[in-house]
C-alpha cells in the first residue's frame, strides 16, 4: 500500500498534467470549450424541468420557491453525474488504456487518479454553474453547502470502488461493460432524482433504502434545496461501505494485475 502511495506521489506531476490533457482533449477544437462540460448536464436538467415540472412541481413539500423542482432536479443530477462519470470511466479504464499498459511500464495506480481528477474538475465546474443558476433564480446557498465536499468525497469513493471492481472484471468479461450501460439507466430511474420518493407507491419506499445512491442523492438535495444537513447516520454507513468497496477493488486489482495485460 505504501509502495502504491509512493509511486503515485512520484507521478503526481504526470497525474496533474494528464488530468489537464484529458480535459483539454475533451473540449479540443470546440468553440465553447470547457462550457460544454457544464452545458450538457444542464441541458438535460432543462429538458426534465420542461417536461416534468408541472407534474412534479406541486408535490415538493416545504418549499416556496417556484423553481423548487428545478433546484431539486439539479441537486440530484450533481450527485448522479459525478457517480455516472466515475463509474463509466472506471469500467473501461483498463480496456481503454490497454495499449499503453501493454507497451509502457508505469504505475497503473495513476490511471484511476487521472479518471477521478478529471471527473472532479468537470463536476466542480457543474457545481459552480449550478450555484450561480440557483442565485439567479433567487435561491441563495446556505452554509449547508459546506457539506458538499464531504458528499462529493463519499460519492467518489463509492463510484470508484464499484467502478474498479467492475472495470477489472470487464477486462476479462467484456459483457460487464454492456450490461452496465443498461443497469446504469435503470439505476438512474430507481433513484429519486427526477421524482420525489413520496410519489412512490407504498412498498417501494423500503426497497429504495437498499439503493446506496438514494442516500447520496438525498444528501445533495437536502443540502442544496432545503439548506439542511444530510442524514448523517446513513451517510456514515455509506462512507464506511464505500471504503470497504475500494479496498476490495484494490485487492482484486492486485490479484488480477499479472493476468490483465495478458488478455488486453
Amino acid at each position: 500500500m505504501s509502495e502504491l502511495i509512493r509511486a503515485v506521489w512520484s507521478y503526481r506531476h504526470f497525474i496533474a498534467s494528464s488530468v489537464k490533457n484529458d480535459l483539454k482533449a475533451r473540449v479540443a477544437r470546440s468553440r465553447l470549450g470547457a462550457a460544454w462540460m457544464v452545458l450538457q448536464p444542464l441541458a438535460q436538467v432543462a429538458i426534465y424541468s420542461l417536461v416534468l415540472s408541472r407534474v412534479m412541481g406541486a408535490r415538493l413539500p416545504g418549499t416556496t420557491n417556484q423553481y423548487a423542482y428545478s433546484i431539486y432536479l439539479m441537486s440530484g443530477m450533481l450527485a448522479w453525474s459525478l457517480f455516472l462519470e466515475i463509474i463509466t470511466r472506471s469500467l473501461t479504464l483498463f480496456v481503454d488504456n490497454g495499449n499503453l499498459m501493454k507497451k509502457i511500464f508505469f504505475p497503473r495506480a495513476t490511471l484511476p487518479f487521472i479518471a477521478v481528477g478529471s471527473s472532479l474538475v468537470s463536476n466542480a465546474l457543474l457545481l459552480v454553474a449550478t450555484l450561480i443558476i440557483f442565485a439567479l433564480i433567487g435561491h441563495m446557498p446556505t452554509p449547508a453547502v459546506l457539506w458538499i465536499p464531504l458528499l462529493m468525497g463519499i460519492t467518489v469513493v463509492f463510484s470508484l470502488g464499484l467502478g474498479l471492481i467492475l472495470g477489472v472484471v470487464n477486462v476479462f468479461l467484456r459483457d460487464v461493460g454492456q450490461v452496465m450501460t443498461v443497469v446504469l439507466q435503470l439505476w438512474f430511474w430507481v433513484t429519486p432524482i427526477v421524482y420525489m420518493p413520496s410519489i412512490l407507491p407504498s412498498g417501494f419506499g423500503e426497497i429504495i433504502h437498499l439503493n446506496p445512491m438514494y442516500y447520496l442523492v438525498s444528501g445533495y438535495q437536502s443540502v442544496l434545496l432545503y439548506g439542511a444537513a444530510p442524514p448523517l447516520l446513513p451517510l456514515a454507513a455509506m462512507a464506511a461501505g464505500s471504503i470497504v468497496l475500494l479496498v476490495v477493488a484494490f485487492l482484486m486489482f492486485r490479484r488480477a494485475a499479472p493476468e490483465m495485460v495478458d488478455v488486453l
Partner: protein, 408 residues
C-alpha cells in the same frame, strides 16, 4: 562485469480457464486448474553486462516481443525472475501516448512524465529535446499538424532525453529520414560508450553483426543459441530456410569457426575451390587478381530448376558481394539425379586485403525461402593480400587515377 539485466529461468504462460468466471475465482483463492496453458516462453536465462550490446533474433512468434515485455515489466513472468539494475528505456513504440490535440512540447512533458520524470527534470532537459528533434517552430504546434517523420523525431528525442542504463531498440523501427536515422544511431552509440547496455531486436544480420557483442536466437519460446553474432545469424538464416525435410548441421571448422549447413540436400556442393587463371588452386589472392571460383554441384534427386548462388563475406560476416545464376539468367533446368554440374565463376578480386569467406546456396529461385536445397556458410575461406598495388584501406578495390594541377 556488473550485471544490468539478469533473466533467470523465465517462462510465460497464457492461461485459458475455459470460462473467465473460473479465472476470477482463482483471485479469491479457489483452486481451479486452467484448462489449457500456452507457454510462449520457457526456460529463458541470460544476462547482460554493463555496456554490452545484445541482439535478439527470431522468427515471428518466437517470443521476442513477449521477452521484451517481460524485461520492460509490462508483463509479469509466470515463472522465473527478471532482475533489472537501473532504468530501462525502450524505443519500440515511439509516439505511444502522444495526443494529437497537444503541442509537441506538451506531449514531451506528458511522455517524459509517463517515464517517471519530475517536472524539474523535464524542464531541464527540454532545450536538449527541442534541439535534438530539429523541427523548429513546429515544436509548439499541435501534433495533429505534424508529419509522421516529425512525430518520430519528437518521440525519439524524448525517449532518449535521459540516458538509460538499458536501452531496448527495435532496429527495424524507422525514425524518419536518413539524416535523422544516422543521428539516432549516433546517440545510441554515445550512450553505449557511457555504459548503457543495448538490447537490439532485428531481422537484419548486418545490423546485429555491426552493433552487437552477442546475439540470442529465440525459437519456439526457447533460447536456441546464445553466442557470437556471426554464428547466431548463420543459424538464424538456416532456420528461416528450414522447411519440411530440411535439416541443419553445425560443425566446427579447423579454424575454430562454426559452419552451418542446412537444406533438403537434394543438391549439394561437392567441392569449391579458388583458382588462378593459370589453373592452379590458390588460397592467397592478390588485390585485383583475376580468379576462377570453381564449384561442383551434385544433384541427388531430379531437380526441375537449379540456381547456384554465392556470397563473399568479410571477417565479420558482412556481405561484400553476392549473386546467383537466377540473376544472370542461367538457371539449369531438369537436372537429373546423379548428375554433376561444374560451375566456374570468373572475376577479378577487386576487394581490399583481409580474410573472407564464401557461402553458397543451391535454390530454385532467387531466394532460399522457396526451395532450399543446400545453404552452406563458410564453404570456403581465403585471404586477400595487397601485393602489387599502392597502399589503401577499405573492403573495395576502386583504384583511382589522380590528377592535380597547381594553381598559380
Amino acid at each position: 562485469m556488473t550485471l544490468m539485466l539478469d533473466v533467470r529461468d523465465v517462462g510465460k504462460a497464457f492461461r485459458d480457464y475455459g470460462s473467465e468466471l473460473k479465472r476470477i475465482a482463482t483471485w479469491f483463492g479457489v483452486p481451479v486448474k486452467p484448462r489449457e496453458e500456452h507457454w510462449v516462453l520457457r526456460g529463458i536465462s541470460f544476462s547482460v553486462g554493463r555496456g554490452e550490446a545484445i541482439g535478439i533474433v527470431g522468427q515471428n512468434g518466437a517470443g521476442k516481443s513477449t521477452l521484451l515485455k517481460l524485461i520492460t515489466r509490462t508483463l509479469v513472468p509466470t515463472e522465473g525472475s527478471v532482475s533489472v539494475h537501473g532504468r530501462i528505456a525502450a524505443i519500440l513504440e515511439l509516439g505511444m501516448g502522444f495526443s494529437p490535440d497537444l503541442t509537441g512540447r506538451q506531449n514531451v512533458y506528458h511522455a517524459a512524465g509517463l517515464m517517471g520524470f519530475s517536472r524539474e527534470q523535464i524542464e531541464a532537459a527540454m532545450p536538449d529535446i527541442e534541439a535534438f528533434a530539429e523541427i523548429g517552430d513546429y515544436f509548439d504546434e499541435y501534433v495533429r499538424t505534424y508529419s509522421s517523420g516529425m512525430q518520430m523525431r519528437v518521440a525519439f528525442s524524448v525517449a532518449t532525453a535521459f540516458r538509460p542504463d538499458i536501452l531496448i531498440v527495435d532496429e527495424a523501427l524507422s525514425v524518419g529520414d536518413a539524416y535523422f536515422q544516422h543521428k539516432c544511431f549516433k546517440r545510441i552509440k554515445e550512450f553505449r560508450e557511457l555504459g548503457t547496455s543495448l538490447l537490439i531486436v532485428s531481422h537484419d544480420s548486418g545490423a546485429i553483426q555491426n552493433m552487437c557483442d552477442r546475439a540470442i536466437l529465440l525459437q519456439g519460446g526457447r533460447v536456441l543459441k546464445d553466442g557470437e553474432p556471426t554464428e547466431v545469424m548463420d543459424a538464424y538464416n538456416a532456420l528461416i530456410a528450414e522447411r519440411e525435410n530440411t535439416t541443419m548441421k553445425v560443425e566446427r571448422l579447423e579454424s575454430g569457426q562454426m559452419q552451418t549447413i542446412s537444406g533438403t540436400f537434394e543438391a549439394v556442393v561437392k567441392s569449391i575451390r579458388l583458382h588462378a587463371t593459370s589453373g592452379e588452386p590458390i588460397e592467397f589472392v592478390d588485390v585485383g587478381q583475376d580468379v576462377e571460383l570453381r564449384i561442383d554441384v551434385e544433384a541427388r534427386s531430379d531437380i526441375p530448376k537449379l540456381v547456384l548462388g554465392y556470397m563473399i563475406k568479410d571477417r565479420l560476416g558482412q556481405p561484400v558481394f553476392g549473386t546467383n545464376t537466377f540473376h544472370t539468367r542461367q538457371v539449369a533446368t531438369d537436372v537429373p539425379a546423379g548428375s554433376v554440374l561444374s560451375y566456374v565463376a570468373r572475376f577479378p578480386m577487386n576487394i581490399g586485403p583481409g580474410s573472407y569467406s564464401i557461402s553458397t546456396a543451391l535454390v530454385s529461385t532467387d531466394t532460399h525461402l522457396v526451395d532450399n536445397y543446400e545453404w552452406r556458410d563458410l564453404a570456403l575461406i581465403f585471404t586477400v593480400a595487397n601485393q602489387s598495388h599502392p597502399h589503401f584501406v577499405g573492403s573495395a578495390w576502386i583504384p583511382p587515377t589522380f590528377d592535380f594541377d597547381r594553381l598559380p
